[in-house]
């Protein structure tokens, strides 16, 4: 196995609200390896984005949030770093691409200048050097006529172009880890495919780890090597793409996969859906968090929280039913 670049260990992110602390992320543990594409999937509100923002410590720690656990990157626990060093990691070592590219670009700067800005924060480059490098980046992310585009404002570009610019901004300093937070949600399908191709291409060429956060299982199946499924701030299943898609163990993962519309087969049937909705953070069930919506839930599921257990070399799952069955077989 390749070297680990990021180790998230028992990450808890709690938001301070008027009703007290709310645990948005509860004990999330995973690793990201060099050069891999790791997919993180789940419904809205399951904590995918909070996880990624917590890694960069983007939330206001004085007022908004309380972190615990450890995030180790290059041998350092990010939570123990002073803000100044944290800033040096952001954008230089760990970069992030946001969902909506238009609102992620500063409207009063030309796109070229935004890349220059990202370079000048971390590198001691002259204005001219940075500009040349920015043009090079624009060209690398597949923007035609980069010299001309350099001087255009974000609103003058199409959605796909903007996302390409965002990727160029994020990759300008050659980070070791790229966090892509739903990078294709605001785009149409053709552009989506192009952007994903670009991310995969960059991932290979720069040998950086990519954390792809999405709710689009098709994208994950096509691009990622490993997948983490999250539900209500916890990891419910982790495994290789083959594990997750060919042999999903957790009822929630199965539900998600069945809910994807299929091109072939019987179309008269209604699409599968997972009944119920994600509970509020203030009303988290005491046992298995998925139990109220799970068709297989037993008395034990409602009372006792299952642990994330290894069921094969690459696969882990958080479900009583699966681990009980395995116990019987053995």
């Amino acid at each position: 196995m390749k070297e680990k670049i990021l180790e998230v260990d028992g990450l808890c992110t709690q938001f301070r609200t008027e009703r007290g602390l709310l645990k948005a992320i509860d004990g999330v543990t995973f690793d990201v390896y060099r050069g891999e594409m790791l997919g993180i999937v789940g419904e809205s509100g399951c904590g995918k984005s909070v996880t990624s923002q917590s890694i960069l410590r983007l939330y206001d720690e004085k007022r908004l949030v309380k972190y615990s656990g450890e995030i180790r990157f290059e041998g350092k626990n990010l939570f123990e770093l002073p803000m100044k060093q944290m800033r040096q990691i952001r954008g230089e070592k760990i970069s992030m691409v946001f969902q909506d590219a238009l609102s992620s670009l500063n409207p009063v700067f030309t796109v070229g200048n935004q890349i220059v800005e990202s370079l000048r924060i971390h590198r001691k480059l002259s204005r001219k050097e940075a500009e040349e490098k920015a043009v090079e980046m624009l060209d690398m992310v597949g923007i035609p006529d980069p010299r001309r585009r350099f001087y255009q404002y974000p609103f003058e570009l199409s959605g796909g172009m903007r996302q390409r610019v965002m990727i160029a901004v994020a990759l300008a300093c050659s980070p070791r880890l790229l966090i892509a937070d739903e990078p294709t949600t605001a785009l149409d399908v053709t552009i989506q495919a192009q952007i994903m191709d670009l991310i995969v291409d960059m991932n290979r060429r720069m040998d950086m780890g990519v954390m792809l956060i999405t709710h689009d299982l098709a994208v994950v199946a096509e691009t990622c090597s490993r997948v983490i499924v999250m539900y209500l701030g916890q990891i419910v299943e982790e495994g290789s793409v083959d594990d997750i898609f060919d042999n999903p163990a957790h009822p929630y993962t199965r539900g998600l996969i069945e809910a994807v519309p299929k091109m072939d087969g019987d179309r008269s049937r209604r699409l599968h859906q997972i009944d119920g909705t994600v509970p509020l953070l203030s009303q988290i069930p005491s046992g298995c968090r998925f139990a109220p919506r799970c068709p297989y839930a037993s008395e034990r599921c409602r009372k006792e929280m299952p642990e994330l257990k290894t069921i094969s070399a690459t696969q882990k799952v958080r479900c009583h039913c699966v681990t009980e069955e395995q116990g019987k077989e053995a």
């Binding site: 409207p107 800005e117 050097e129 060209d139 010299r147 001309r148």
Partner: protein, 309 residues
């Protein structure tokens, strides 16, 4: 071209020839020019703001060129020719002490424009600093905004008069008290805009790129709140001219012999039935300048908006 770049090492520096740099420089110039032309076209489409611009420019020319245009000194007494009407000799007539009203009005424009300009710019800069700072720091926000509330609670002319009675009456103190009067509204505008900008995803994205707090504040937030502030500056410019005239008229502004528009009006009010020219001309100049500035302000808004191209 693309293949060539793909082959170069990503971490390595770019080795573009001098030829390409010249190309880039030219491209920048032509694009900048193009954008400027679009903005100017947009500005000139609005006839009212063009009129405002012409009036304001004319005023500036008259004020700056006053010594060249006028044949008389604005302070020169000529007791023989008191209260003479308009003539080829004295275009706007003479006042109660025989001074040339035309010269006094033109020199008065110097005072008015100096006051308006200094107040507009200083209040704009101070208000922006206060507004930006308030948007990032809750304690500073509370202190600054409560002070602003307090200042806004007092009618602005009254506040300016009070300050002028405490301070010595001269042009410097007129400017200072008008800045104090105008900063609160400026800070409010800057702050409300800054709060909107602060929550935008691109500020979050900048943080994600490792930008420091001050860099985000001054380099990324400031330009985004600039255009409403600049528009407000033109309005403060205009309103300071009026307030300065009011202060001088009431005797609380620039002290008497100096040719401020308010002073001329004040001296003319006693003889309004016999010497209408003493009131009419400074009045027209004040109205025109203020009108011109307000019309210009609307045009500036269109000009500054990057989306307008």
């Amino acid at each position: 071209m693309r293949d060539a770049v793909l082959k170069t090492d990503l971490h390595g520096s770019f080795s573009g020839g001098a030829e390409q740099q010249v190309d880039m420089e030219q491209l920048r110039k032509s694009l900048k020019k193009e954008q400027r032309q679009i903005r100017i076209r947009k500005f000139t489409k609005n006839k009212a703001s063009v009129f405002g611009l012409i009036v304001v420019c004319l005023m500036i020319v008259l004020a700056v060129g006053a010594p060249l245009i006028c044949r008389y000194d604005p302070l020169e007494l000529d007791t023989v020719n008191r209260l003479k009407g308009c003539s080829a000799e004295h275009w706007f007539g003479t006042d109660t002490m025989g001074r040339d009203v035309f010269a006094r009005v033109l020199y008065g424009a110097r005072i008015s424009l100096t006051v308006g300009f200094s107040v507009g710019i200083s209040a704009g800069v101070l208000g922006m600093i206060m507004g930006l700072y308030a948007s990032t720091n809750k304690i500073a926000d509370n202190i600054l905004m409560r002070i602003c509330d307090g200042l806004k609670a007092i009618p602005s002319t009254l506040l300016a008069i009070t300050m002028m009675t405490v301070l010595k009456a001269d042009i410097k103190n007129v400017i200072i008290s008008l800045i104090v009067v105008n900063v609160p509204s400026m800070a409010r505008i800057a702050r409300s805009q800054a709060i909107v900008v602060k929550e935008q995803t691109y500020m979050e994205a900048m943080r994600g790129l490792g930008a420091s707090r001050s860099r985000m504040l001054w380099k990324h937030m400031a330009p985004n709140i600039l255009s409403p502030v600049i528009v407000q500056v033109t309005f403060v410019f205009a309103s300071s001219i009026i307030t300065e005239a009011a202060l001088s008229f009431l005797g609380a502004g620039v002290p008497a012999p100096a040719p401020s528009w308010g002073n001329i009006l004040n001296e003319g009010k006693g003889v309004i039935y016999s010497a209408w020219w003493m009131v009419l001309f400074p009045g027209i100049f004040t109205v025109l300048t203020v009108l011109g500035l307000n019309l210009l302000g609307d045009g500036v808004r269109d000009f500054l908006d990057p989306m307008s191209s």
